[in-house]
């Protein structure tokens, strides 16, 4: 990728008028990939482009054959450019960004949990293996500082504020391996922090929790519409630098059982043999602020099930 400038976009948030116009010019939108000069000349196979080395090599060859004024065009933004129709949210000021991951799991006869192999469209000759999915969780400054005990003593235990519980479990505590799935409305949640170790400089909190989400399981989940649900339990460790009053670690593991079909679709893109099936989540702290680190949480913008992301 060193020979290209890669940019990834949510189709619904392509930016200001000049940016949308550029995307329209090169037909960048939907589930798609396009290569073009900065001036908007399409390269490669256009609509059929995939991120395969031979196709990108051809696009690069075309690019290098162009005159310099097309390879290094002057980029001008009109003075009266239309602002974005939908502004991409930015993380809260001094907020906490967590990154979650989701994978399918299985237990061997001895009970050891390991990754399970699964396929998109497994009955299709062109099937491909599923990949770990990832998503973000944002906490405001007030929210993450509320997790820090004022006068911590070993063994002290406190509940996590309910809005944080609901946001955590309903968005990154679910099975989101199929990607475009809605947040699951929590039926029950519990999440607490217990002081494990404390010193003048640092603090370690153990996170324990569980939740029941979405629809309750029954045997009709396999053939019903909008029947998704899950049961999950979590364990985590939060590290705190007391002098700087900052969170230095936020690692969480979750194991859950999930079931059902998303939204109005009866046939899952990823079919699994058992129902309910086992899934896992892993969460970690994001400490950098590159463009890829500040991508908004999925259910903040899509399929939020009516749950307000930041609740009072």
């Amino acid at each position: 990728m060193e020979h290209f400038i890669p940019v990834a976009l949510d189709t619904y948030f392509r930016g200001a008028g000049d940016e949308v116009e550029f995307c329209q010019q090169i037909k960048a939108g939907g589930n798609h990939m396009a290569v073009a000069t900065a001036g908007g000349k399409v390269l490669g196979h256009g609509d059929a482009l995939r991120m395969r080395e031979k196709e990108l090599a051809k696009a690069l060859e075309e690019f290098r054959a162009l005159p310099e004024e097309e390879r290094k065009p002057r980029i001008e933004v009109p003075a009266n450019v239309a602002p974005p129709r939908r502004a991409l949210p930015a993380p809260p000021a001094n907020g906490l960004i967590l990154k979650g991951h989701c994978a399918y799991l299985q237990a061997d006869p001895a009970g050891t949990i390991a990754r399970a192999k699964a396929w998109y469209y497994r009955d299709n000759p062109d099937r491909w293996p599923v990949e770990t999915q990832s998503d973000m969780l944002w906490l405001t400054e007030a929210e993450w500082t509320s997790l820090l005990p004022a006068d911590p003593k070993k063994g002290d235990r406190a509940e996590v504020a309910l809005p944080i519980q609901r946001r955590f479990f309903s968005t990154i505590g679910i099975d989101y391996m199929e990607g475009s799935v809605n947040a699951l409305v929590p039926r029950e949640t519990a999440l607490s922090l217990t002081v494990e170790t404390v010193s003048p400089e640092s603090l370690t909190l153990r996170l324990d929790g569980a939740a029941k989400l979405g629809k309750e399981f029954d045997e009709t989940a396999k053939v019903g519409k909008n029947t998704r649900g899950s049961d999950v339990r979590v364990l985590g460790y939060v590290g705190v630098d007391r002098a700087r009053r900052t969170i230095t670690r936020f690692d969480v593991v979750g194991l859950g059982l999930a079931w059902g079909n998303k939204m109005e679709y009866l046939h899952r893109e990823i079919r699994l043999d058992s129902e309910p099936w086992l899934y896992g989540i892993a969460v970690e702290l994001v400490t950098t602020r590159r463009p890829i680190d500040v991508v908004p949480p999925y259910n903040m913008l899509h399929y939020g099930s009516g749950l307000k992301y930041f609740q009072n």
């Binding site: 392509r14 589930n31 991120m51 770990t132 973000m136």
Partner: protein, 81 residues
């Protein structure tokens, strides 16, 4: 009282879920590492993606490189979709 209620709810939720495996603390690190993306699993995620068309065009013009635009229909390709 709220703390007591919370502890009781948690205990009830944890117990009342036959089939959901427990998470032994001694297995935490292994599970965490195993559920995270595995090395080499998704090389495209290791790319330093930009998220602004205008910024990408300006940089491409300055460096004399083509722009590669990756879009997803329902969300960012860098999140879940």
């Amino acid at each position: 009282m709220r703390l007591l209620i919370g502890v009781l709810v948690l205990a009830g939720l944890v117990q009342d879920r036959p089939g959901v495996p427990a998470i032994p603390p001694e297995d935490f690190n292994r599970l965490h590492g195993m559920i995270r993306p595995q090395p080499g699993e998704s090389p495209w995620r290791d790319i330093e993606w930009m998220t602004s068309i205008r910024g990408a065009r300006e940089r491409a013009a300055a460096e004399g490189k083509p722009v590669l635009v990756f879009t997803a229909a329902d969300g960012s390709p860098l999140a879940r979709t």
